[in-house]
Symmetry: C2
Subunit: 145 residues, 2 copies
Amino acid sequence: MYSIGQVSEMFHLPVSTLRYYDKEGLFPYMERRSGIRRFSERELEALRVIECLKKSGLEIKEIKQFMAWCVEGPATYPERKALFETRKQAVEEEMLRLQKTLDMLKFKCWYYETAIRVGSEDRLNEMLPDHLPPEIQKLYDSAHA
Amino acid sequence: MYSIGQVSEMFHLPVSTLRYYDKEGLFPYMERRSGIRRFSERELEALRVIECLKKSGLEIKEIKQFMAWCVEGPATYPERKALFETRKQAVEEEMLRLQKTLDMLKFKCWYYETAIRVGSEDRLNEMLPDHLPPEIQKLYDSAHA
DNA sequence: GTAATACCTAAACCTGACTTTATGTCAAGA
DNA sequence: TCTTGACATAAAGTCAGGTTTAGGTATTAC
């Protein structure tokens, strides 16, 4: 069993955030001893899931719904599975978008590197978008697709 | 030259957002004809860069700083290049974090699939974390690293 | 005994990125 | 002429996800 302060250190989260999550219903099984929260392994696993679902783009109230399903028992396995499937797809799509963003950023890095080398953007822009080195052309196309 | 309504349609952005960006200084070269904004190719390219930098995690006021550098001329090529290098690194790190999130989500998909199959989480948890199929073990390790 | 800590609550506050509202201008079409 | 639609502004409102504040309790350290 852990105090809120210990969990705060373990997860590098402010105490206020843990209390906020609790208030929002994200720890449905949280125990108390004379008013004081006692985090068990169950709450730590909940916190891992919370961080995962948050990174996947879920809002707090949707995570709360998930926790409510957990309380409901085995009848909600399908809902829970469906949620993770949906988040998996969302993250896969996000990674594709990020890859395009990354290609744009790489292109811009090359662009300014070259601008510095030739001394001005103007001479550089004359090359665009038809006279680029092939690997830069690939970045340019990916970013402008 | 395009009207704000045309650009709104081209980029699938509300007119209010474009005006907000303009107010925040994100279109330093924007022209007007009797008070009405006229978007040129320069503004469209600015908008592409805005979307890229936003996805990379930059705030509006930092994007505004970038636009200010563009106005300052070739002397700020190094600052602009450094910005893109930093964003590139940030996005690469974000993609690594997302990959871990994805592994956790895939693990949870397998977990609930199996829970549905065997009828209860409890029998499943007895297998964890030591008796997992190898490819699931890999996801579990990646997600809990 | 008293001072420092760690915990508690409720409620107000904050931030970023927009969005909405209220009000007004202007040109084109019926 | 009059109304419709696209444009404009300033200022207020919204929302999520916390954070801060104000006031209190309980335990430990000196």
